[in-house]
Symmetry: D3
Subunit: 318 residues, 6 copies
């Protein structure tokens, strides 16, 4: 059940389900015995829980697993719900992925299907060197590919879930393809390649937990940010397969300038047409998802106060 529905039930109600352990600490009760003090969460709610007389082997289980199958009893403290944990189990791997999705912690499309779409886009690139470079990065380097497919696209906010980076990348690349259908001036292969690599630095910038969920920034992520890291990755990949200077420089420029202006993180503004288009398509993907999230919080005809967008969002009736 959704934790947000807990308060519809009376004290003593029995809860079972796979939830996230978003905080966990071992404390000592007044009787001198150890107990687990934690926060159990899903997309809808966070509820404090106590695991009295926690067995020693359970401690590690709580510490190392973001997601657990929990059985608990509902109680109330000053009108707020809290849980007493009766038992815990490690969920099956297949249940975990389902749970992550139902908890809103994984992309709505399957990772496999998204990766297929990625390879289809690469297959459509005609310029041989660009195609070779994309194959090298996203297909042949299997370690990186596996990481890229699961990585979140952000620490918070839009695309901050497993597979979020891939989903955002696909949105930008597919919109790029659609856009090229209406503008013959664009170098399609260049724009699509830039779209696919523009955020690869996030794989090194965003730190993840055992589940693959974002927990903050890495050291190099904080000190160098994903734009510099992505340029470094492209430089290395170009060197490895001998990409020519022109492509090398332009792709790095596309990464460097894709935030559009210095105040937004790009020290140079886009100076190549495809870099400029990429900047807008990147923004389109990010903003569309942010608006969708705000709309989900309210009914048609209502406003949602968006902290992230720094404005109210109105969900239109029509």
């Amino acid at each position: 059940m959704k934790l947000g529905d807990l308060i519809k039930n009376p004290k003593g109600f029995k809860v079972t389900g796979i939830y996230r352990v978003s905080r966990f600490e071992v404390k000592t009760a007044k009787n001198g015995k150890a107990y687990g003090d934690c926060l159990i969460s899903d997309q809808s709610f966070d509820v404090p829980a106590k695991y009295w007389d926690i067995p020693g082997d359970m401690v590690g289980l709580f510490q190392n697993n973001g997601l657990l199958r929990i059985e608990a009893t509902l109680d109330y403290f000053k009108e707020s719900p809290q849980l007493t944990i009766d038992g815990v189990k490690i969920p099956l791997q297949q249940d975990i992925d389902e749970s992550l999705q139902s908890l809103g912690l994984m992309a709505t499309h399957s990772l496999e299907s998204m990766y297929t779409r990625l390879r289809t886009i690469i297959a459509g690139v005609e310029q041989p060197m660009l195609k070779q470079l994309l194959m090298h990065i996203f297909v042949e380097n299997k370690t990186f590919a596996a990481k890229f497919v699961r990585h979140p696209g952000a620490v918070k906010n839009h695309h901050a879930y497993i597979g979020g980076l891939l989903q955002h990348t696909l949105e930008v690349a597919e919109n790029a393809l659609a856009y090229c259908g209406h503008n013959a001036r664009i170098n399609k292969d260049l724009l699509v390649s830039a779209a696919l690599i523009h955020d690869i630095g996030k794989v090194r910038e965003i730190d993840i937990d055992a589940l693959g969920l974002p927990v903050g920034f890495t050291k190099e992520g904080k000190l160098l940010r994903h734009i510099s890291l992505g340029m470094e990755q492209i430089e290395a990949a170009c060197r490895e397969i001998g990409v020519n200077e022109e492509i090398n420089v332009i792709l790095k420029h596309c990464i460097l300038s894709h935030h559009g202006m210095p105040e937004w993180g790009s020290p140079v503004e886009p100076m190549v047409m495809e870099a400029e288009i990429l900047h807008y398509l990147d923004n389109l993907s990010a903003k569309a998802e942010q608006f969708a999230r705000e709309e989900d919080k309210v009914e048609p005809g209502e406003f949602s106060k968006s902290y992230l967008l720094r404005r109210d969002v109105y969900r239109a009736i029509y």
Copy 2:
């Protein structure tokens, strides 16, 4: 011939063609006779010209016609070319349109074909009230439609030619349709409607000459700008056919917010998802054309210094 090719010819060379009279003044020569002092222009060059002993009836012809069929003789003054006009004629209407296009003063697509695309887009709108509103504005109001089809999209810079407003409007609307193909959350009818009307205030904002070319801003254009004027036009159209309050307010909001932020002319930021998308698609169309113009000025591998974009533009080799 292109005026830019004049300098390849010797003194005494005879020139004939339809050109623009971009400046004209009647002056008195040392012999006491009136002569016409003017600037003859095409896309490639501006060349000063003198019409000695100009006949009285020719003066009006120069003053009232932006485009004339000119016969002239080439001369040089301090190594710069100048023309002595031998004769002038009013060009045939069909020649005028051809000339405008070859001078880069008219949209590259025919106005008829673009207007057909506009009606096709309107025909695809399903929400009945939005469709009725668009029909009312762009089809039934024949005076407005005729104006809209020929109006320039700007005074200078991108889309500043006959049919430029329609061309820009179509770019935004067709990209909107393409974008909706990849984002099921968007209300397609709303986005397309907003795209079609977002710049209609420009019909009142931009002042045109007899040829239909932009010559500056109208009084209300300067004092109120196209955003306020467009909102007023939509308010009037909604009133005329009884559009409901929700659509009325949202469409006006889309116009009001489409420049994205106060510094760029929109006192409110987009608060409706379709308004946000519109803002980016509008920018995409404007910037893509600006980059294309800069690219046209240089060879692949070179930079063009763009005054308008306030940066250098690089024309990629790949």
Copy 3:
């Protein structure tokens, strides 16, 4: 008595007076019975109150009436005062207005006297079309006039009380008249007219409760703001009585530009002398009231930390 004086009294003290119910909710007590949980407020203090075993008909009374005559008994919880409500009555209409004023929720000058001043200013306008327009808006349209006279001038901060919009409008218009006494260049009729209409959009922008007190922004207020709404109202009024184009455009420009610059909400800066003067007089009225409010919070020689003005305000001794 002022609620701020409650804490000077012991537990069991009896309180009677007309106060505002600023929050109200029906809850269920431990004994299973319904009780009213509310916040009773005046200008000086907010005190929580409980109405045990609240009778059913009293619930509606609390929900629909912002102002009630309350009898209650004082108690203390952790040294903070709270009230137990013993009885409630709907106050007489004449008492309500008095109470609103004493609670600082209504303009200090009577609404009638302010409306008389408004009509006197209109009577002094000499240009016939401007006078006719002002009569049409503020006198002949009785529904609008009644609304305008009582409307608050803001949701929070300066002029956020009943009659606040009229009071602010009069301040600006009367200062405009005084200013014209020292500057013969100004078109007095134009400046005064612009002063009277500059904020009329607030009637549609600010949402009010049954008492007429501001509770937030309306939907169109949020999406379009009072500047756009006011321009629409002037456009409609001008159309209704056939005001000429020059006056129509200038008045709309005065509204559009009166916030002075894009960052402050005006997409165009004032381009007409009277619009520029209006901008400063509008600011003068707003800032003078904000400073007065801050001064009221402290003694001479002290500083008040103003959240709204983002600075400290010093109340001078001299």
Copy 4:
């Protein structure tokens, strides 16, 4: 005659009048003789002039006198008018003042009448210490008073003429008095005193020539600006007559903050109500004069492009 009317006359026309010598240099002609090469100006026009075979004693006259009675003959060089000087005289003192006024280089009101208005305002101040301070600065210190009365209010732009500082000061102070008539909260004596002294630092900031016209900034004017200089002058005056600390600090704060915010030159924003009001009244005076100057350049219904205001100014027909 106005120099702007010169071009209506034929070559050989004789010109006589008092004009400004805005540039002067002694050069050597091809015949080896010295001649004076200068620019003769009035409000309407600048015309180059040559004084062939200039007598030695005339050189000093040209160098030391901004204003001369000139007799000259009109000539044309490439259709532009130029003058050959036939004779020069030092104008009578009384003619100089008249000429300055007709040249737009002196305030339109007489300096005496403006000084009388200044003393009248001071006479109306009731708080004894403020009155004593103002008397000390503007009346008893005769050297300073004489300087203040004639000083320009700016190097360029608004109030940049003899008596401009006094005229601007009076505008601010008289508007302050008018404003106090509608706002009983204001400390009238404090506001008026602050208005009278707010720009006194300009006497030290702006450098003047022999005629009293602004020629640039002084060294301390550039390095310290009039706000710091004015504070120093008030500090000295307060010390000299023993003004108490409260008045001393507040008056200096009014000077320090009267530009309103750091970007406009005031490191602190106004924190005292009268300082805030002063800021707006100061702006009102400056902007009203700037708009008036722009309006003077065009006919009703036209726009003037204002470099100073960074926008177009529209001169309304109504």
Copy 5:
């Protein structure tokens, strides 16, 4: 002992030491007797304390002395430590200074040794008038010198402790000397003099308590800030000993411009080379101390979130 170590001890533990009384109030207990309710602080921790049945003479002691030798017993309330005061004594003067230092409330170098360094720097100035001026301010004016030596350099953040102003001043002046060793263009005497006086206005801007610790800003500090106050002090000192105009103006310019730009509090940017250098050296001293404080909060390899610097600070391992 450090208060931060209290929690390592059990209830009933006896504490003795010199601590700061950072808040104190006399309240009435349930038994009707007066007790002292206070907050006892050192650099590491703030702990609430109660002094039951406080003797009347002890009240004044608590009110007038920031630092007291306290004997108390440890207790716990909801797992948080609190103290019951058993006895209090005024510490010896020599103990006070030691305690201040160990509490981080006084400069780490002795005030005497720092004052000696200050005089050594002055002794090294060769230009006689600058040397005389510095001697006048920092040595001969003994009252000012004594104040300057102990004054804090800020209300919060960097250098906000006794002797902080002197320590910051020395850092800037000594770095200035070091810098001159590598740049022969600099006027060493001028730069060093400007360094020594740049912040003297802080003596009047920052308000201190009996101990000499910063408690906020003075009235003139808030209304005029230390830059204006410092200029006034230099103007007075220059007048007193007859310093020439050039030095007077330049030194005041150095003070006025040392924050570098309007947004940072300097209405003029540095226009003299030494003023520019001073601006950077001042920043270097401030920022270096802020970084040091952030580094102190974490271990090598960790980030500290700096509210003051508005960024994370990383403490490098190397």
Copy 6:
């Protein structure tokens, strides 16, 4: 002779010396023969020159050599000096360096002595890995070292001459060492290393001519800027000699952040103490040289209008 002194000489005067050919074009004279049209420059002046009947082999000489020994005859055209070239020679290498220096186109210190100072600084680094890295970059990589030693530090403005990059680098590094003498908290080796490498990207960013003088930006310089290029160079060097991750990341962070904030070109602000110090020392070096250049243009007591610094610079008398 200095070209600036040409005008002191009469027509026909013979000039000999080594000058820069700053513009050169072959044109056809009226007699049909080829002539060289060029601009001859030194630090003091640019003078147009004509080389009539230029021999074919001389054309290449003019095109390929920035610096030539020129013999010419002085003439005047409309009072402006111009030269007729009588003969040209390629100067000896040793003369070229002398000339560059006297023309202000080469660092004032010898390149050898500066390179010695660089190696001395490296020799003083104690941390072995940092020392090894610096040796690898600046000593062992002889091609790079040779380039670095001669490279200009900018295209225009400060340090825009041969050896300018090395001179600026030394200024920053030596000031860093001096600074560490007064601040024990700084990691000297880290700060000095960061100082030495902070601008190495300029070797790839700035394009030079045959003489080694800056002529603009390279393609990668425009598209990626020296910060990104420098990071790439450090990444490569670290990889080559196996520098550990911590040093690698911090050095790249120092480069990335050394412009201090996004608006100035650094997408991240300094987050490591040494990076922050570097930012200020870099600015100090740049600004000190800019001020020195402005001071050189005027006499003590005068102001120089600095286009680059966007303010006037005052050269103090003391």
